[in-house]
């Protein structure tokens, strides 16, 4: 478990570096280049900078909640990694069996959805406790956005659950083994698109990043946070991104299954990471391309368009699955 934690935290830190590089390359410029060779030590430099900043707490802020809000955002995001399986077989090492997952809970999908709901509390409390106009506006918008799109994310996942017959992530991945024609993206293409859009909205990424839009709301709900507290929120956002990508991989792209059974000699972990990084690249790619949605456009899209389509998807999947099983 410590191993997973260490790997995850490093991955999050270097994800910030990767984002800046990818965004830079798409904008015809190189990203960070100064700090190490090709800028590789940039996350380290960022970490040192944020740690050495003065810790300012606004005088009228609610100190206890101000302190605990970033933690409420970060901890569920990292906890969600405990139910994500990275590979296929458990392997034994000196008599200790290491599983490719920390816990094979048979309600894995529900655990992840629940934990992301708790993350929304962190945003609301952070904005409220800052006692500042921009923060409270940003927090309200962000919380509304997160809970709206969480609903559509949950609904879109139900189609996959009908097909797989179980909520455990390990079983869902097992059900997609064989070859890429078994992957759930093909029967559930609509749910895949809806899940991806909801994922982008839940993690407050462009084009849904009005709550933290630098040009509109100063920094939204994290205006008053500085130094390490800010970096906790920032890390929480990237951890959420990785969780959404991992869940998308597992539910729709077959997790650690290779696309052709003959390619099974490449370790499953590599396939899993490749797919997760593809989704993360897709997040960055979308960020580099699309402008931001206005808040009312965002809410309208979530409730009037995405939700009915996801319901239709559930109904159609249910009917087809019922008749196919007979």
């Amino acid at each position: 478990m410590l191993g997973v934690l260490f790997v995850v935290l490093t991955m999050i830190a270097y994800l910030t570096y990767l984002e800046r590089k990818v965004l830079g390359f798409m904008q015809d410029r190189l990203g960070p280049m100064e700090v190490g060779p090709w800028g590789l030590l940039q996350p380290l430099a960022d970490g040192i900078k944020l740690l050495s900043k003065e810790d300012i707490i606004p005088s009228e802020a609610n100190k206890a909640i101000f302190r605990i809000a970033p933690v409420i955002s970060l901890v569920p995001a990292i906890l969600a990694f405990s139910v994500i399986p990275f590979g296929h077989d458990s392997f034994g090492l000196n008599g200790v069996t290491l599983h490719p997952y920390i816990a094979d809970v048979n309600v894995g999908v529900l655990v992840i959805l629940a934990l992301s709901s708790i993350g929304a509390y962190g945003i609301l409390l952070g904005g409220w406790a800052s006692n500042s106009k921009y923060s409270i506006l940003g927090a309200l918008r962000s919380a509304a956005q997160v809970i709206s799109y969480e609903l559509t994310a949950g609904m879109s996942v139900i189609g996959v659950l009908i097909l797989a017959g179980s909520m455990s992530l390990v079983k869902i991945e097992d059900a997609q083994s064989g070859g890429f024609w078994h992957w759930y993206i093909f029967p559930q293409i609509v749910a895949f698109v809806i899940y991806l859009i909801s994922g982008i909205a839940e993690t407050n990424r462009t084009p849904f990043d009005l709550p933290e839009a630098e040009s509109e709301l100063v920094a939204g709900f994290f205006t008053e946070y500085s130094g390490m507290r800010f970096s906790l929120y920032y890390l929480a956002e990237y951890a959420n991104m990785i969780i959404v990508s991992s869940v998308a991989t597992i539910l729709f792209l077959g997790g650690w299954n290779p696309p052709l059974p003959s390619l099974g000699f490449i370790p499953p972990v590599i396939w899993f990471l490749l797919k997760v990084y593809f989704f993360l690249f897709f997040f960055f790619w979308i960020r580099a391309t699309l402008p931001r949605l206005r808040y009312d456009q965002l809410m309208r899209f979530g409730w009037k368009i995405m939700l009915p389509v996801s319901f239709a998807n559930i109904i159609v999947t249910g009917i087809v699955a019922y008749f196919l099983q007979r």
């Binding site: 990818v22 830079g24 390359f25 798409m26 904008q27 015809d28 410029r29 190189l30 280049m33 790619w285 979308i286 580099a288 391309t289 699309l290």
Partner: protein
């Protein structure tokens, strides 16, 4: 109608945007890593201003104050006096150009009748004090000595290099001897 519907569900416009950004990811980048790589500046680049000399080493400036008159930012201050060595000639006893006021427009170079001023390609002259950026005549002459070819090239490109200005001291203006009375 059907086309519009298909465009919506297939996200064609978003796809177009995505294709564009992906294409740009593989194009050559425009970043210049400054201290290690530098951009090539054009000959007419308006950098720091320098004083020039004739080929025999005599400074060109005759202290006429035309540059001080034309400077839009009033960055130049000239105190002129009779040249101690060369007869029938004046020079600038004190010449101060305040580079914190200078807007690098190049009017002083245009105004100078003897091509004493020119602009070099230097720009990286930071200082920790304001006085460090107020250049005296000696400093500007030193700049000119250091960046001689650049200052010549500037005048040539900007059409201020006269054909007969061969660099000889007597080439440009020949002051006839003045006799007062008698």
């Amino acid at each position: 109608m059907l086309k519009k519907f298909l465009n919506t569900i297939l996200f064609s416009e978003i796809g177009q945007g995505l294709k564009l950004t992906l294409r740009h990811m593989f194009l050559r980048k425009v970043t210049v890593q400054y201290p290690k790589e530098k951009l090539v500046l054009a000959d007419g680049y308006r950098g720091f201003i320098a004083h020039r000399r004739y080929d025999n080493g005599v400074e060109r400036c005759v202290g006429c104050d035309l540059c001080e008159a034309i400077c839009p930012a009033k960055a130049i201050r000239v105190v002129s006096d009779i040249h101690p060595e060369i007869p029938d000639r004046r020079y600038a006893k004190e010449y101060t150009l305040d580079f914190t006021r200078c807007i690098f427009c190049g009017y002083c170079v245009v105004a100078c009748p003897v091509n004493a001023l020119s602009m070099t390609k230097e720009f990286a002259h930071s200082s920790f004090t304001r006085n460090g950026l107020i250049y005296s005549k000696e400093q500007m002459l030193a700049l000119g000595d250091r960046a001689g070819e650049e200052s010549d090239a500037y005048l040539k490109v900007r059409n201020m290099w006269e054909a007969e200005d061969s660099g000889k001291e007597e080439g440009r203006y020949h002051f006839p001897p003045i006799s007062l009375g008698g």
